[in-house]
Each structure stands twice: as C-alpha cells, then as structure tokens.
Symmetry: C3
Subunit: 271 residues, 3 copies
Amino acid sequence: MDISTNPIDAAAQALAELRRQRPLVHNITNYVVMDFSANALLAIGASPVMAHAAEEVREMVSLAGALVLNIGTLSRPWIDAMFAAGHAAMARGLPIVLDPVGAGATRLRTETALLLLEEVKPTIIRGNASEILSLAAAGGATRGVDSTRGVEEAREAAIAIAQASGALVVVTGPEDFITDGERRARLANGHPLMSRVTGTGCVCSALVGAFAAVQPDPWLASIGALAAYGLAGELAAVGAPGPGSFRTRLIDALDEITPERVRQDARLVVE
Amino acid sequence: MDISTNPIDAAAQALAELRRQRPLVHNITNYVVMDFSANALLAIGASPVMAHAAEEVREMVSLAGALVLNIGTLSRPWIDAMFAAGHAAMARGLPIVLDPVGAGATRLRTETALLLLEEVKPTIIRGNASEILSLAAAGGATRGVDSTRGVEEAREAAIAIAQASGALVVVTGPEDFITDGERRARLANGHPLMSRVTGTGCVCSALVGAFAAVQPDPWLASIGALAAYGLAGELAAVGAPGPGSFRTRLIDALDEITPERVRQDARLVVE
Amino acid sequence: MDISTNPIDAAAQALAELRRQRPLVHNITNYVVMDFSANALLAIGASPVMAHAAEEVREMVSLAGALVLNIGTLSRPWIDAMFAAGHAAMARGLPIVLDPVGAGATRLRTETALLLLEEVKPTIIRGNASEILSLAAAGGATRGVDSTRGVEEAREAAIAIAQASGALVVVTGPEDFITDGERRARLANGHPLMSRVTGTGCVCSALVGAFAAVQPDPWLASIGALAAYGLAGELAAVGAPGPGSFRTRLIDALDEITPERVRQDARLVVE
C-alpha cells in the first residue's frame, strides 16, 4: 500500500481539461435530482442535458461526451429510453455511467440495473454499498435509496462486479472504494453533510460522467470526479449552518474547486 | 377552550422518535416539489423515497413507514400508481397522507382526490382552505394551487370530511386547523414567507407522513408535524432577505429544530 | 437610434400591475426547471401552476392569464398536452409563450417547436441564439441546450421568424434582442452568472408569460420581463460567492425588485 501521486495529477489535469472542453453530459436520470445534477455539472464546468424521449435520445447521444443512466424514478418509457441511449452510446464508444439507485429495494430496480449492466455494458458503475451488494446478489434488500451497509462490506462485491462485467465500480460512502477488478483505491475526501442532502450520490455519478468525457481511463476519471467532489464537499461544509445551506454552497464549491486544490488535498490510497 | 400541553409533549416525543427510527416515507408526489420534499424529509430526520412505477410501488410500500399521495402534477400512470400503492398501504395498515393539490381547479384533480378518499381511505388529508372546501363540495372552484379562501371558511368543510371519511383533516394557512370530526385544534406557528415558496404545503404533507410513521395517533402525528414545521419556518425567517434564502434556511431549520423547542414554543389551542 | 423611456415606464407599470393582479401562469415545462420557475414566478408576484395531463390542461388554461410552453424535456404525452393547451389558449385569446429549448439539437425538438409555432401561434418566442437560428433554418445544429452562437448572429433570424409568424421574438444572451419584425430593441441588463445556473432561460420565458398576462402588448410585456429579470440578476450577483448562492439570491432579488428600480436602471436601446 502506498500513496500514489500519479492518479491525483491525472485527476487535477482532468478537471482542467473538463473546464476547457465543457463536454456535453447526457443524463437520463430521476426527477428528484435533475435540477441539482444539472447545476452541479454546470458548476464543475460541463454542459448538462436531460432528454428521455425514445424519439430523441439517439440524436442527443450523438452530441454528447458521456451518458449517465440513473434509475432513481423508473418507469417503462424511461427504461426504454435508457436502453436506446445506451445502445447508441455503445455504438459510438461513449463512456456510460450507471447509477443503480435503490437497486435491491424493488425487483424493477434490481432487474433493470442488471439488464443495463448486461446489455449496455456501462463503463463505470457508481452506487452506495447496499446497491453494489444487491447487484452482486451478495446482499439482501436495500432500505429505500439510502445505504444501510458500510463500504467495507461491499468491497468484495464491487471487485466481483468489476471482474464479471468489465466495468469500473465505485462504492461511495464515508470513504469511497474504487476498483476495476484488479486495481483498488480508497478516497477519504468528503463530509458527513453530503449524506444529509438528497441526490448527492446521483450528482457524484453525473460528475463521474463529466470526467469520463475528457479522461478516457475510467480509473483516472473516477478518481478525478470523486476527489473534486469530495473536496468541494469539504469546502462547502465550512461554516454551513445546515443541509440546506450546505447544498447551496456545494454548487458554489464545485465552481470554486481548482486543479491545484485537488493536487494538494486529495486523500487517495492506492492499495 | 384551553391550552393543552399533552399533545405538545406528544409532538416533541414524536420528533425525537422520528430521529431515532428514521422511517422510510414513500412519496408519490408532483414533479415540482420532489427535490424540496426529499430534502425536507431528510432534514427532519426521515428517509425519503420517490417511486411511481406501477411495477414497483407495492414493493416500495412494503418497506415504508408511511405513504404520501400528492396530486400536484397528475397524469393517468401516476393515478394508477397512487391507487396501487394506496391499496397496498391499506392492506398493511400503513398511514396514508393525501394532499389534494389544486382540488377544485380541474375535474381531474377533484375527482381523483375524491376517489382516493373513497377507495384508499387516507389516514390524514392535508390541504389549503380552497382545496378542503372543494373536496367537501361546499366551495366553488379553486384558483390554481394557491388558496384564495381563509382557513376559517373551511372549518365546517374539514369537520364534515373528517366525519364522513374517518380521516383526520388538516387545513393549513396563517393559522392551521386540525380535526378528526370531533376534536378540533388550531396551531398558530409558521411565517408568512412560507406562502412565498412553492411547495411548502406539499412539504407539510410529507412531514405529516413522517410523523405518522412513528406516532400511530393521526391527531398527535399531525400536531407534531405542524408544530415542528411552523417553528422551523419561524426560525428560518429570522434575517431571511427573501423567499429564496428563506427556503434554504427552512431546510437548515428542519435539521436544527429540537423536541425542546417544540415543547416550548408550539402555539396550539385545543378547542 | 435613441434611448426611449416610454417602454421602460410601461415595464415598470407592468411589474406593479403584476403584483396587484397576481396572474395565474400555466406552465407546461421541463422537469429540470419546474421548481425554479415556480419559485421565480411566486417571487416576482405571479401565481404559478404546472399541469400537463391532457385531461386537465384545457380547464387549467381557462383559469390562467398566460400559457408557457417549454420543450426542454419532451415526450409524446407532453407534446399532446402542449397542443391541447395551446389550442385552448388560442380560443380564449390568452398570451402564449414558447420556449424552444434545445431546438436544433434533435429533430423532435426542432419539429415540435416549428409545429407549435405553426399551429398554436405563440404570442412570444424566447430562446437563445442557437435555438432561434435553428428555428429559422438559418443555422446548423445547436449544442445541447446551451447557446454556442452569439445574439448578434441571430438578429436576422429573429426578425424573419417574427415577420413570418406574427410572434414577438426575444433572443436572450449577454445583450438581449427583442423584435416584432418591425421594431427592434436591445436590453443590456443581466449578469454573467445567469449563464452558470440551469434554467435561467426557462425562468425568463416564465416571467415573460407573467408580464404578458397583465400587459397586452407583447413588446412591452417582454421588455418589462427582461428588464426586471436582468436587474434582479444584477442585484443577486452582488457579493454572490458562486452560482449556487447566486441562484438563491436571484429568487430573493425577484421579490425585491421594484418598479422604481426598473424605471431607473433598465438599459434599453430601441433601434
């Protein structure tokens, strides 16, 4: 185990590159977090678009630098749109991020996530421990959309999913775990207030998409997104009187966070 | 008429209990307020979930401590989901809160609310005066989703609905009115800025659901939610320069409000 | 070219009138901006309603003072609702505002916008330069929902659309351009932070709807809305540490902005 500085340099460079390129990130995401995700993407420097009509998702994908699929408020037309967009993204070699919100809570969510995993072969999967465990069929039912399991418990499940699917897997929590099945890293940035605001996990997935649009290695893209986001959370928490103010400041902090800050303060341990 | 302290003690205890249990509150609610409602539920200490697919609502109800049905942006699939979830909640004896947003403005809203009232037998109905009057067929058309009628005007309608349906009825406004058909109370907490922010009524219904998940008496659950919410509004208004800041602070205040504060400052009059 | 004070007086009066009448503004808009639009409408003094079910939009239109159609997250049922509501609004002589979000990015958006333009004859069209250019078939594909073209480039397109359709056309950007095909004006209020927050264009369209509900001349209504909104943006930017705080303050500023301030500080040039 050693503290590697290379991925952190790459993370800092990806943030700079993201701001230069302003990649279009196409989100098919849940109703609750659309506003928050779009503002977070704009603040970090990307260009968000939300589009879910089966009639237009293929065209929108053709303009995008990454596709983010989030199953937080599923229904049949949205599932259809996710597969249509996912196939179009695969055909273009576009990075796809899957956020299996609430997988394990209902069969519809678990099965949709597993089918997306199988059919559209996401580049990166980001979930909390409960969701990752349920995807690996290693865990029981999740409790709604909040995690009731620790990141430590989900390590083996994450590695197994990564090995079976070829996707990079990110488990977020007080300490994040990142694996491509072989490499493993932990990132210790962030703040407890992040778990007191709805959609902070979904926003993380959207930001992972933005970084993946400019950094072709999903390992480096994920580390970049998690480091920048965690550090923004730390910045936002300073003096925040509560979760409402914290959320507002988190958007400010995503705008304020610099590559230098990422280089200095990311707490990554490559195992 | 006397100032009863018992319901206020129960309200304070329910808030403490809510924070201990973190009940899952399943919302089938309108698009406008999903984000605000989810953050308000998290801030007060509950665990929010939004799910509306007919395929999953029964399973989600089986994990929940309360179900909140809000008709603010209706469409056929959402109506179907509300009935499916409502029947599942009835079968489990789960508290159901109905928020008849805009009842009276269109037939779709009035009729859906009345049919939900008849078929899924909500435990608690929370609306503004116009909505409650229109449900009672005692009033004319409402004006959009804002109330144009005073709470005083809706007292008899609320009592009639409670008696006919068995639901506890809450009419919110500058002074809230609560009745189970026999008992009647008024609560005078809150702040005028609450009417200057979209969805503060919907958030109130969601919080009533959270309290109902931990306090089986709908009378005490409603008083608890209204007192905590009104006091949070008062806290949030101190120094708020306008409705945008007020909304952010309201989330902070829901996190900050304590059982002690509820016990001290709730202005309840049991008639 | 001269600086006309008359439209600015009318703008200031329209703001005062809006606060007196509190017109109901019926929005069929995208999921991302519903919350922000509703709060902006409430803050400026209007009464927002969101309703999209084909079964109820005609009735809702009959209660409204203006209809705002925004194609930001289209799907078939929403398109149907827009036409149903649009026809009902035409029949009542109600002002209709069309926001062609992302026109040019996908055929679904471009064609829906053009068909709405043809069939429901919007009173006012508000878009960014890319959107207006794509509607005029004068420009190429837009890049998602952000404008990549300058307002200057879209002048001729705007004039052509206005002349062909009879609609007043507003192109917003660092400097806004307003034309009814003959008259032309530029408005230079606003702040760069407005382009760093999702949905500020959509909110502009909603505010144009609110002003059109109380000021029958679309030229004066648009100038009123743009001046009040731009000035609110300037107020909100003072001391705002980033786009999250700016958005919160923008709602505060819409509440705070006065007719006097509009009269004093609107920077309108009638060409």
